[in-house]
């Protein structure tokens, strides 16, 4: 436990110190959300109707930022060798790194999304719903991404391969994230149904993603 706590603390310190992939992905998120009204024009009804979808798409894309360095940076400088020599299991190492990554990308995205919802003319209710779905849905994105990051850890410039591998696997999360946000605005499906499925997706991704990423790291050795 002590080893994993140290790993989370180190990754958070690194994210804060290098100028941080966390802040960068938040800015990228803002950029995408800000671009959409320029592309679609000032039709507020249209924007507020597709607003949750835009926020979710932006969240998926900005989760990819920095994901390719999740294991690659440690692989390149030999830190990964240290981690495999630790008494902590490799699955625990993956879990600690994913947690640190989510705390610096997924969580800030979810917290900032009500603010960015203003740009796409969401009302208060839709903002709260979207923020909640992002909060429970972004862990699934990070865990799925971790598998791709582990697979491409030893490939130089593996960022594009990572996106190609990982994006299709993020589709279920995207579907239920958007449908949960939209059902909060009215419709035949109650809000909790897609939200519960979204939570389930995050939990499943947590288990499968951790095991698969650890297996990929072992295999690449």
């Amino acid at each position: 436990m002590r080893a994993l706590r140290a790993l989370v603390a180190r990754d958070l310190a690194l994210a804060a110190r290098v100028g941080g992939s966390g802040a960068l992905s938040l800015v990228f998120f803002l950029m995408i959300v800000a671009l959409v009204p320029f592309a679609l024009g000032p039709d507020l009804n249209l924007l507020s109707r597709i607003g949750p979808a835009i926020l979710w798409l932006a969240a998926v894309l900005s989760t990819l930022i920095g994901l390719d360095r999740l294991f690659q940076a440690d692989e390149e400088d030999g830190s990964l060798d240290l981690m495999t020599g630790s008494p902590a299991p490799l699955e625990g190492v993956v879990l600690a790194k994913v947690l640190a990554h989510w705390l610096t990308t997924g969580l800030p995205l979810a917290l900032a999304s009500p603010l960015f919802g203003l740009l796409v003319a969401l009302d208060g209710r839709a903002m709260a719903a979207t923020a909640l779905t992002l909060l429970v849905g972004t862990p699934a994105l990070t865990f799925v991404g971790a598998v791709g990051a582990a697979l491409t850890a030893s490939i130089r410039r593996g960022g594009l391969i990572l996106a190609v591998v990982v994006l299709p696997l993020m589709i279920p999360t995207l579907i239920f994230g958007v449908s949960a946000s939209e059902s909060a605005l009215g419709g035949t499906v109650p809000f909790t149904t897609p939200l519960a499925i979204l939570c389930a997706l995050s939990l499943i991704a947590g288990v499968i993603g951790t095991l698969a990423a650890a297996a990929a790291l072992r295999w690449s050795e």
Partner: protein
């Protein structure tokens, strides 16, 4: 602890690196691995560290309790495992927490290697020799019986080489094992020597050799 390697053979990217390597080390013993560049010294260390699977042969550790081999060893190689934005102290404190069995504090370990002044400097500001010394300080912050050193004196000045020799002597006096791949005398008293002889690669295989070198771990 005791370490026994029997009939090790390794093949990487279809190319045989070495075969039929055997040695045995008891408490306090040291092994110097020598050979020309590309003979497979680092590969042998990678196999011992459990990062490469040998094609044939076995590596076994005994008298270590329930720990696995990879939990009994320290590796200091070409990739130093240091994070440039973090200070030397933070890097060592992290290694200490990660690897367990803490002994010396990061401050004491760095002072031993003559880097007490660099305690709060980001590793990015340090020279190659100083970085290597921070990596060597990791050997002191947690106790592990087997040290795998890959050309540990690379980039080190004469004074630091003497400090390293002293560290290794003390480690062996307390029953530790040292395996070092090297081109120089390291001041290891009565160490066994394992010379890896390999035929020089023929010109047609040269291209493949470069590919394999890209994949080398450290």
């Amino acid at each position: 602890m005791r370490l026994t390697a029997q009939d090790l053979a390794v093949r990487r990217s279809g190319r045989r690196i070495f075969a039929n390597l055997s040695f045995a080390l008891g408490p306090g013993e040291a092994l110097m691995v020598t050979g020309r560049n590309g003979a497979g010294k680092s590969t042998l260390l990678a196999v011992l560290a459990g990062r490469l699977k040998p094609e044939a042969g076995t590596v076994a550790a005994s008298e270590v309790g329930e720990a696995t081999l990879s939990e009994c060893l320290h590796v200091v190689g070409h990739r130093d495992g240091l994070k440039s934005p973090l200070t030397a102290e933070e890097n060592l404190a992290f290694a200490r927490d990660l690897l367990g069995a803490p002994t010396a504090t990061p401050r004491a370990a760095l002072e031993e290697l003559g880097l007490g002044h660099a305690l709060r400097l980001p590793v990015a500001y340090l020279s190659a020799g100083q970085r290597r010394r921070v990596a060597l300080a990791r050997l002191l912050v947690c106790r592990r019986p087997l040290w795998l050193l890959d050309e540990p004196t690379a980039a080190l000045d004469a004074a630091s080489q003497a400090v390293l020799a002293g560290m290794m002597a003390r480690h062996r006096a307390t029953g530790g094992l040292v395996i070092a791949a090297t081109h120089q005398a390291l001041g290891l008293a009565d160490a066994q020597e394992l010379r890896i002889e390999a035929p020089a690669p023929a010109p047609p295989t040269l291209a493949r050799t470069t590919v394999a070198a890209d994949e080398v771990w450290w």
